[in-house]
C-alpha cells in the first residue's frame, strides 16, 4: 500500500487546470505551423497565423488561450495499491479545479442545473472519470473542454452491416455539420464500439492522444489517415473560412461491442484541445 494525501491531488489538479488553459500543447502548435505551409487559402493562412500569434501571447502574458476555459474533464488512473488519505478523491479534484480556475483567472463556465442556469462561480463540479489499474501509481489527466466544439459532437448507433465505411461516413457527416462552429482546425476524437455511453467516453479519451500519434491497430490507423485526408478536402478550412486545413488529427479509440451494435461517437475538439497530465 502507498498512501497519497489528497492535498497532493488538489495541488496537481490546480496547476494542471492553469497550465492546460495557458500553454497550447506543442503538438498542436507544430501541427498548425506545418498546416500553414500547406494551406492554399490566403484567408486560411491568415487565420492560422492569428491562432499561432494568439498562442504566443497567451504563453508570454500567462493568460488563457481562449476565454472559454471549459468544463474541467479529469481522468484519474489509480493503482489498486494506492490508499488515498485525508478525504475524498472527488472532493480533492474539485478543490483543485476551484483553486485553479480562481488563481489562473480562468472563466467560470459551469451552471448548477441544466434548466435553472445559475453559475456555480468556481467552475465545479468537474467531470471525473476514475479508472482502477494494477500497481501503486496515480496518474491524472486534466482536459478542460470548451462548449463550441463539445456542442458539435454526435453519437451514431449504426448497424453492424454499415461496416467501417458506414462509420467513416458518420464521422464525415458530423464534421460537415459542425462546419465553422467548433473553431477549426479541429482535432476529431472518435469512439467506436462498446455501447452507447462507452463510445462517447472513448471519443473523449481519444482527444488526449497527441496529434500525429496513430492507433496501433492497423485497420484503425488506416481509418484515421483516410478520414483526415477526406476531412481536409471538405473545404471548411481554418475558422470555416475555406481551405484545406479543417482538421489536424483524427484520433480513434475502439473496443469490443455487442453482436448487434456498432456505436460511433464523434467528440469534436477545437484548435485549443487542451490536455495535460502528471503522475504522483
Amino acid at each position: 500500500m502507498r498512501d497519497i494525501d489528497i492535498s497532493k491531488i488538489t495541488e496537481a489538479v490546480k496547476n494542471m487546470c492553469i497550465k492546460a488553459n495557458i500553454d497550447l500543447n506543442d503538438d498542436i502548435y507544430k501541427a498548425m505551423e506545418k498546416a500553414r505551409e500547406n494551406e492554399r487559402s490566403p484567408i486560411g493562412c491568415e487565420m492560422l497565423s492569428q491562432l499561432l500569434k494568439n498562442a504566443d501571447i497567451a504563453k508570454t502574458d500567462r493568460v488563457a488561450i481562449c476565454q472559454d476555459t471549459g468544463m474541467a474533464v479529469v481522468f484519474v488512473t489509480i493503482g489498486q495499491e494506492v490508499h488515498i488519505t485525508g478525504g475524498l478523491l472527488k472532493d480533492a479534484v474539485n478543490e483543485g479545479v476551484r483553486q485553479g480556475y480562481n488563481e489562473g483567472y480562468l472563466r467560470k463556465s459551469v451552471v448548477k442545473d441544466p434548466f435553472i442556469r445559475v453559475n456555480s462561480n468556481d467552475n465545479t463540479p468537474a467531470i471525473i472519470y476514475i479508472d482502477l489499474v494494477e500497481g501503486d501509481g496515480l496518474k491524472i489527466d486534466v482536459a478542460p473542454k470548451g462548449a463550441g466544439s463539445e456542442n458539435m459532437s454526435k453519437i451514431f448507433m449504426l448497424k453492424p452491416a454499415d461496416g467501417i465505411e458506414g462509420a467513416k461516413k458518420a464521422v464525415l457527416e458530423a464534421v460537415e455539420a459542425a462546419g465553422p462552429n467548433p473553431c477549426p482546425p479541429m482535432i476529431v476524437g472518435v469512439g467506436c464500439g462498446g455501447n452507447f455511453e462507452m463510445s462517447a467516453y472513448l471519443a473523449k479519451r481519444a482527444l488526449l492522444r497527441p496529434v500525429g500519434l496513430h492507433s496501433d491497430k492497423p485497420h484503425i490507423r488506416e481509418m484515421e489517415e483516410e478520414l483526415l485526408e477526406k476531412i481536409n478536402r471538405t473545404g471548411i478550412g481554418p475558422q470555416g473560412l475555406g481551405g484545406n486545413t479543417t482538421a489536424l488529427a483524427v484520433n480513434i479509440e475502439s473496443m469490443a461491442t455487442h453482436i448487434a451494435c456498432m456505436p460511433v461517437a464523434v467528440n469534436i475538439g477545437c484548435h485549443v484541445t487542451r490536455h495535460t497530465s502528471c503522475e504522483l
Binding site: R40, S41, I43, G44, E46, M47, Q50, L51, K53, N54, I57, A58, D61, R62, V63, A64, I65, C66, Q67, D68, T69, Y105, L106, R107, K108, S109, R117, N119, N121, A147, G148, N151, G179, P180, N181, P182, C183, K230, R233, T234, G235, I236, G237, Q239, G240, L241, G242, G243, N244, C270, H271, V272
Partner: protein
C-alpha cells in the same frame, strides 16, 4: 488593405461592406450572449427599453475570462453565434446593424439582415488573448449577476474581423468552402 469600420455602424456604412472584406473595427460595441439576449428582450417587454441604444448597435457575442490585475479585460474571443439566432432578428428589427461572432447563422437571421441592412462579422474563434489586446475600455452596464455573460460596453480599436455575411445575404462560409472543396 484592411477596411476601417466604425461602431456604432450606420445602415449606409453597413451596406458598403461585402462578404470577404477584412476589417478593423473601432468604436463602441456591446457584449451579449444567450442569457443576456433573453434578458434584454424580457426587459424590453416590461419597460420598453434596452440597456443600450439598439439603433446602429454592434453586438459582440462574447463572455470574457476574468481580467488579471492591471488588465482592461481578460481573454475575450467570440462565442458560437447560432445560439443567438432566435433573438437576433428581433434586435435587428429594433435597429441593431452589426453582429460579431463565429459560426453559421440560420435563414431567419440572414433574412432579417437583408431587411434591416445589417452585417455579420466573424472574429477569430479561440484567438481570445490576441483579440483582448484590441479592447481598450470595458464597463459592465447590465445584468452583473450573469458574470461572464453580463452586458459590457467595450471601446475597441482596430478589432480584427471578417465580413462573413453582408447586407445582401452573401455568405463567405458557403462560397469559400465551395472553392476549396475537392471531395
Amino acid at each position: 488593405m484592411d477596411i476601417k469600420v466604425n461602431a456604432p455602424l450606420s445602415k449606409e456604412e453597413a451596406s458598403k461592406l461585402k462578404a470577404g472584406d477584412i476589417v478593423k473595427i473601432t468604436g463602441t460595441v456591446y457584449t451579449a450572449r444567450d442569457a443576456a439576449h433573453k434578458r434584454m428582450l424580457e426587459q424590453y417587454d416590461k419597460t420598453g427599453k434596452f440597456p443600450f441604444d439598439m439603433r446602429n448597435a454592434v453586438i459582440y457575442y462574447a463572455g470574457p475570462a476574468p481580467a488579471k490585475p492591471g488588465q482592461v479585460i481578460g481573454p475575450a474571443g467570440p462565442t458560437t453565434s447560432y445560439r443567438m439566432d432566435s433573438f437576433a432578428p428581433k434586435l435587428m428589427d429594433f435597429g441593431q446593424t452589426g453582429m460579431i461572432g463565429k459560426g453559421a447563422r440560420n435563414k431567419e437571421v440572414i433574412e432579417a439582415m437583408k431587411r434591416n441592412k445589417a452585417v455579420y462579422f466573424a472574429a477569430t474563434g479561440g484567438a481570445a488573448a490576441l483579440i483582448s489586446s484590441h479592447i481598450k475600455k470595458c464597463e459592465i452596464i447590465a445584468y452583473e449577476d450573469l458574470g461572464a455573460e453580463a452586458v459590457r460596453k467595450l471601446y475597441v480599436e482596430d478589432f480584427p474581423a471578417i465580413v462573413v455575411i453582408d447586407t445582401e445575404g452573401n455568405n463567405l462560409y458557403e462560397s469559400e468552402k465551395e472553392k476549396y472543396r475537392t471531395l
